[in-house]
């Protein structure tokens, strides 16, 4: 919240340029101290989730699929958050869910961004037939309803985690491609790109030094949301029997399994839903902070 007081007209606080003799870690730590409260909360959430994900077997009171009591047991000392529809400990399932759901969603989102982002910039910078080719391929992929397409592919290729990641990653990369291409197009017509080209700089240089920094903010904003869309896609596929296989705990299936309870005002299904929501909010708080910083850095040009 400290930032609200800084000059609102110039959009953002201007961090001093890093000095050469400082290590990256020192810079990062200093930036972190200056980060607004929301970003700190966001980071804390992400770190907690990662910690829980990594150490799930150590933290969880029971085994992942162990049946420990009657179904839909109330909150108690032995089962802190009660039990699910099979009598498994809710807290344990949530903890293991972090490991399964977050890991897969993160890898998938990264894949989508690397693939979609690279192709998008490629298309914008080179234009011409490369742009045409990539854009048409993406058009075709996007024109097919993605849930149906994912369903088709998973049924054909089988439902392993690797296939799940690859298929959702590739389908989602088309969305990233469009955004990346659109914002890059705005940038590549700028004079500084033109001059870089006239200087004879290569694609890699132009991309890394000129295009990427300028299109980063919308891409990062998109990242935060894509991450959460991947969650939802996986949960929708789990519902169709094509997602993560039971008894593996994942939050999407957990919401689905208990969702009818909400009709009667029981809050059990809110727990996994909240687990997803809190992480999404945390990620996006951090994303906002990056957004903030990158847009501030841009002023140095």
């Amino acid at each position: 919240m400290t930032d609200t007081k800084s000059n609102p007209e110039s959009a953002d606080a201007m961090p001093p340029p890093p000095r050469r003799n400082e290590s990256q870690v020192t810079v990062a730590l200093r930036e972190l101290r200056k980060a607004p409260l929301s970003a700190k909360i966001g980071l804390l959430i992400i770190v907690t989730y990662i910690f829980v994900a990594i150490f799930a077997p150590a933290i969880a009171p029971y085994g992942e699929s162990e049946i420990v009591g009657p179904q839909f047991d109330l909150w108690s000392d032995t089962n802190l958050l009660g039990t699910d529809h099979l009598g498994r400990d809710m807290l344990t399932r949530l903890i293991y869910g972090a490991r399964n759901t977050v890991g897969i969603a993160l890898i998938t989102t990264l894949l989508a961004f690397v693939l979609g982002g690279t192709c998008g910039i490629l298309a914008a910078v080179f234009s011409g037939w490369i742009d045409q080719l990539l854009s048409r391929v993406v058009d075709v992929l996007m024109a097919i309803p993605s849930l149906i397409f994912a369903m088709l592919l998973l049924t054909i290729f089988g439902t392993s985690i690797v296939n799940l990641v690859l298929i959702i990653g590739i389908l989602d990369s088309t969305r990233v491609f469009r955004i990346a291409r659109a914002v890059s197009l705005n940038v590549v017509v700028m004079d500084f790109i033109e001059s870089a080209r006239l200087r004879g700089e290569g694609f890699a240089w132009i991309t890394m030094r000129e295009v990427l920094p300028n299109i980063m903010p919308p891409l990062v904003a998109e990242f935060g949301l894509r991450f959460c869309f991947v969650f939802l896609t996986i949960s929708a596929l789990s519902f169709l029997g094509l997602g993560i296989q039971p008894p593996t705990a994942d939050w999407g299936s957990m919401v689905r399994d208990t969702s009818t309870l909400i009709t009667y005002g029981d809050i059990t299904p809110l727990l996994p839903a909240a687990a997803i929501a809190i992480l999404t909010i945390g990620v996006n708080f951090v994303v906002d902070w990056f957004l903030h910083k990158t847009s501030g850095l841009k002023e140095e040009h």
């Binding site: 149906i148 088709l152 955004i179 999404t280 708080f285 847009s295």
Partner: protein, 312 residues
Amino acid sequence: MLLQRLSLGLITLFVVSLIIFLGVSLLPGDAAQAMLGQSATPETVAALRKQMGLDQPGYIRYFTWLGGILQGDFGVSISNKREIAELLGTRFSNTIFLAVFAAIIAVPLALALGIMAALHRNSIYDRSVNVITLSSISTPEFFVAYILILFISVKAGWFPSLANVSPDTPFVERLSKCFLPALTLTLVVVAHMMRMTRAAIINLLASPYIEMAALKGIRKLRIITRHALPNAWAPIINVIVLNLAYLIVGVVVVEVVFVYPGLGQLLVDSVQRRDLPVVQACCLIFAATYVLLNLTADILSILTNPRLLHPK
């Protein structure tokens, strides 16, 4: 150029139809088996296959189908022999109605929220809008729907929980029946558009010309709407189009929960039954919608960016 894009669109449709055909053909099991389900015996499956024309090689079936499409004939559903054009007609208009209804609420709302958030960035307002929209977007949509039904329909009784409209439903009743599905969809799509609006505007606020405008003492709201927004349209339009496409193509879950007779449910059912002509027709409609929306987005992006209008 428009003509070129349109013909490209047609090629896209063709490729889509080819991919869908191959995809459905590669699926294990066929329409005959799917239709007989648990009661399939080898003899009945064979007889049904013959009746459905599934004993012909794939490419012949594809070209027969393509020939029909080129003459404007969508063919008949293989599972219940109904004319596909008739089958899709009302459902497509239902889908469009719901999408438009949701878009009319969602797009202005998202733009307004996004602009306000950019204007008051990092304020309490910004943060809370963020948290609320992010929570709504990260909750599976069927769950959002259940919560809305619980409070608005079961507890308060303001709107019905079933959106089972038929072609002869009067307009006002239709609006009331579709209100909850439209609201659900709004909650699902608004966060994406709102955040992109905010991000795109903030991205531009650091540009020298905005600084200049600020230095000139122009009011913040005016700076955003008159100076920043026109240059931020490209990514915003793209996200809006993506979400409009989603409102048409991706609403099967909402259709199921509210029992809304749209295209999504038909498509899922038909994939499960391997009813290829119906799957093809649905996918083509979705693809065509998507191509048209995209074309619109590209044209709008170019129109809003003078530099793209006159490439060097």
